[in-house]
Amino acid sequence: MTYLSRGEYHTFAAADRQFLYLVPSAAVFALDEPAQALLDALADRPLPRQELLDTMSARFPDLDLDQTLEELEQVQAIRLTSNVGPAPVIPLTPVPAVPSVPLTTAVLNVTNQCNLSCGYFYEYSEDKIVDTATGAQPKFMSEETACQGIDLLMNESGDNRVVHVSFFGGETLMNYPVLRRVVPYARAQASARHKHVEFNLTTNATLLTEDMINFLADEDIAVTVSMDGPRELQNRFRVFHDGSPSYDVVLPRVKALLARHHSRPIGARVTLTSQVSDVVTIFRHLTDEIGFQEVGFAPVTTSPNRDHALDGSGFDHMVGQFKTLANEFLEAAATDRHHGFSNVSETLEEIHKGASKAYPCGAGLGLVGVATGGDVALCHRFAGSDDHKLGSVSEGLDREAQTQFLERHHLANKPDCHSCWARPLCSGGCYHEAHTRYGTSTHANLHYCDWIREWTDVCLRIYGELAERNPAFLSRFD
């Protein structure tokens, strides 16, 4: 006998309406009452078609429910099954990796040295992958290597008209002389190939000088400042090697940067730990008191047994505070006002476009990290790791290694994700986080599944509200 069973989806309510987030298509539909009632009736168990229609026709006597069912079947919110039990999990089919995905972004780790000594930073803490003190990688990237990195990006970027260069560290500005020379070089190379190049840079802001600020502003370089918030919170982990605090060093420099640099939004990037988790206070300080246009938060990447690791209650606390800021974001967006909580806007854009990802991020796909010595890796977090190497700037991109990486890391190889409705957006999560937690980048990040689903639900609700109340806001993501 044939039954109708629920397909893969997540329903959510927003603006007094029910919505459907379909998996794996990532399409968002608004439902009318009969469609919602049909889905509800199948929520617990499959039913024969006629039984379902008979039950519902009493409730909707004047409607052609066949038409409603047909629409739900067409978008695969309902599917046919011969089994009365729970709908089976359908294993995903691995798709062969495309061998030559063009690059869009190269992250140049211009140095692996830092003048701060943040206890939680993966590059220096006990969680490090690469030995930056006594390992094979030089402490600073040479100008020649940086230019070769640019050449690699240009040569491997195919028909992409716009390419991105990210400067990362260590503390990026410790290698400022190379930055100054590589930016014009990249512009010249891009121009010769009729491409446009965009730059961004991450810094702890302790070394910013007037000359550097002028350079960043004049060269239109987007800047992200790693900063953890008010004095007390910033000074908890973000200290110099001698243990002295950094807040009072950073503050005047950031203010000078914000006063001079207007061509790009200047963002702050906050690392949340068990000791630094007061999201709302941090956000208020960084936006209202200091003047950052955007603030993004990320929980620290670390092994679970470290003191600063967020545990279950830490995640719950964090999500609770994220919700407060998310609601503020919603009210601002509904009336076309800016709100700088970038965690929401990034997810909204992916929801709007209907991103359904086989890989959690662009690492090893359109993005690579370049280590100080010129080795190319998945991303900046793996730069210099022999186990995650994808060639070098002198020998070029190792397309075979890249293909192998993509085949091993495809979502189809993460069976834990196959029954999760949030997989189109999460796709198993950060490779580096997985490597730190589970010892392999191929593992799904199961320790934050509940949090990801809760957060995705929050963003879906905001998306639904905006779709009803101010759809023009969403059109900026078109």
Binding site: L20, L22, H352, K353, G354
Partner: protein, 120 residues
Amino acid sequence: MRHLRAINQKANRVQQSLAPEPPGSAEDVVALQDGSGTPQQPEGPHIPLGCSLVFQPGWEADRNGGTAGLCQPVERDLFDCHRGCFWPAHVPDQLNHSPDWTGKCAAAQKDWRKIDLIFP
């Protein structure tokens, strides 16, 4: 769609893909197309695949009503009926008892006489 309203870009694409195409805008699916995009047969009324759905010119009779220019040789019917069609032609049980009953028949039109006789 009347009961679902597309909200995001992906939903709009799903909806477009489900929308019925206006008459005449879609190419027919016709047997023996070579995929080159050039129709091998003149455009005409819609002819679904499968012999049991409609009488199919070119399969049982050629364009002139005879059998000289069939699009597939009549000997192919044996295979097309039991493999390509839902109607099980009266053929031996090739799964269990007679897996090799067509083993000597490389090309139906030429070798059909070599098909084994099977006695149940």
